[in-house]
């Protein structure tokens, strides 16, 4: 009798073992790797992604920068660089994604932005699609993202080359501005909108760029992207004013600043040092941000950068 019970127990255990074996999820095969993305999600990717979807313009530019455009099967409607991207299928308009089109494109990697973490990313996860989020907050994170993307897509060489190239260009600018004293660093006001005045404070890429380019951000006491009153902005007497705008559209904020009576008393307006910069370059964290840094350096220190 007791052997019978033993026999039953073994059978049950054996059956359980078998079922758990068949239920075992993706075993780690030698060709799959685990990554942690920018919002802390664990992403497991098998093999080399062949069909990539990008859900933000900066991610798209990074894909092109690493030479992966042939594998790009989905972009957003805001993507506009490089011009070739117009031929790609649009699957999202940056805040609402078209799930059908994404699924239909059969991607094995979706590059998302943290802004989508509440809705799109969980939805994609539930459909079993790999999502890797890239939201670099500063330039070091950005270089890291490039390297990560290179690793994931097996383009490590291209990524490393690109990163070292960009780093040396950044260094070239820094070399020239590092020797400047505080007095030599002009006070810079950065503006994205005028009513109220939206500017960039500490912990933003813009602040970093201004610093690297040899300027002092007059809004550095504010945190993140914030508003500043007209009086405060004028009182801090900026020597250089940079207004960001989408190229090709009328720069209303620039017109406002140039014609405003209070601003007329600032050094920037007295010396006609009000400049316009491209939102596509400065608003996105892409390889072109280094172009932006060089442009900014030329605007702030024309005497140092020819």
């Amino acid at each position: 009798m007791k052997y019978f019970r033993l026999f039953v127990a073994i059978t049950i255990v054996g059956l359980l073992e078998l079922t758990s074996c068949s239920q075992e999820p993706s075993r780690q095969t030698p060709s799959s790797a685990i990554y942690t993305d920018d919002i802390g999600r664990i992403v497991q990717i098998q093999g080399i992604p062949q069909r990539i979807i990008s859900l933000s313009p900066s991610n798209t530019e990074m894909v092109y920068a690493l030479g992966l455009q042939d594998k790009l099967v989905g972009v957003t409607s805001y993507d506009n660089y490089p011009p070739d991207v117009k031929n790609k299928t649009v699957v999202s308009d940056y805040s609402t994604t078209d799930m059908e089109k994404i699924v239909n494109a059969k991607p094995d990697l979706v590059l998302a932005d943290s802004i989508q973490k509440n809705d799109t990313i969980p939805a994609l996860e539930k459909l079993g699609i790999n999502v890797y989020t890239m939201t670099p907050g500063n330039i070091d994170m950005f270089f890291n993202n490039l390297k990560m993307l290179g690793r994931i897509t097996s383009k490590t060489k291209e990524a490393d080359n690109l990163v070292s190239n960009l780093k040396s260009r950044v260094q070239a600018v820094a070399d020239k501005t590092a020797k400047l004293t505080d007095l030599q660093k002009p006070r810079v006001l950065f503006v994205t909108w005028h009513d109220p005045i939206w500017t960039a404070g500490s912990e933003t890429m813009i602040q970093y760029l201004i610093k690297q380019a040899g300027g002092t951000n007059i809004a550095s006491d504010l945190k993140g992207y914030a508003t500043i009153t007209l009086e405060t902005a004028v009182q801090r007497n900026p020597q250089v004013i940079i207004v960001m705008n989408s190229m090709g559209t009328q720069n209303i904020s620039l017109d406002f600043i140039k014609s405003n009576n209070q601003f007329k008393s600032t050094d920037a307006l007295k010396n006609a040092r009000v400049y316009e910069i491209d939102a596509d370059i400065f608003g996105r964290t892409t390889p072109r941000i280094v172009d932006g840094l060089e442009t900014l350096a030329k605007l702030i220190h024309p005497e140092l950068f020819k």
């Binding site: 308009d93 940056y94 994604t97 799930m99 059908e100 699924v103 509440n118 996860e125 459909l127």
Partner: protein, 375 residues
Amino acid sequence: MNDQNTDRKQSTIMINNHNESVAHKTVRELPAYSSRRFLRVISISGLMLACIIISVLALTVGSVEIPFKTVWQILISHLPFVNLRGDWSSTTDMIITGIRLPRIFMAGAVGTALGVAGATYQGLFRNPLADPYLIGVAQGAALGAVVGFVLPLTFGGSYLIPILAFLGALAAVSIVYLIARVGRTLPMTTLILAGVAIGSLLISITAYLTMISANKVHGILSWLMGSFSISGWDQLRLISPFLAIGLVVIFLYSRQLNVMQLDEEQAQQLGINVERTKIILLVSATLITAVAVCFVGTIGFVGIIVPHIVRLIWGPDHRLLLPLSAIAGAILLILADTASRTLMAPAEIPVGVITAFLGAPFFLFLLRRKKKAVF
């Protein structure tokens, strides 16, 4: 005096003889509720059938072209005991059953909730302008959602925003209720005023929070305008029990709602426990509205328009008005959602915009229809 008594006796006799003919006339003029069941069943099942047909049609359209026959085959292949293999890819199957179908169900569920809640609020407040967001549900949900966007909270995973929106909605209504309550009674006009006041306060807090988090504005705006784009089966599983309970309770009180259309004193004299009925209906309607709004954002006009349309066609009896508002609400929102995802694909027009587009002309139509009072 004696003459009076004789007169009285005579009239009694007349009344007694009358009784026999009453029965015949009554059946003709005033059929019993039970004998009108046929009409009710026809109306409800007819509308239900329309809903199913519209849903199936909605299933066949989308930003990815899938032929009608394939959709049909995929649907049938998922029925139990059916073994049908076809030439469609698993991607196509996923699009139909994993994206479009839950989305349609979600639109239907939210439409049902808003239609019934709107009809209930209109009946409770005896006001044709009442809608489910009258006493702060929308404003509370919006604030809860924005708090979830802005603060670095991590509990709940992808359900963080819906949970906060739900709690926000309930909290807002509770505050409004506590302010409006007078002793053991709940005067309805005070409730509306408190709702407006608290609602404005919540809106301003929401606006402030939105303003100071510039990088989240896009996401917040999307949520506020309402969208079904990320509907999934798990969300439906979560909201179904709340929705079911709320709907059942409200339907049980349909006849009481009829009686409540008289003033509160008369309703009380007809045996209705007015205060208790008010609270139960308010809680149920608020519950289903909160649960509808928390995943999808606030979608306007459905709660106001649908009950009026149903009332125009079928009359004010809540025993028919409520179930028909449920189905009509589902139909309207499924249509609106289908339009929102196909008119400008792959971009989505927010559903709230489409319902507003339908709502404005409808209100004008209502205003011009003075001959037959709608409420």
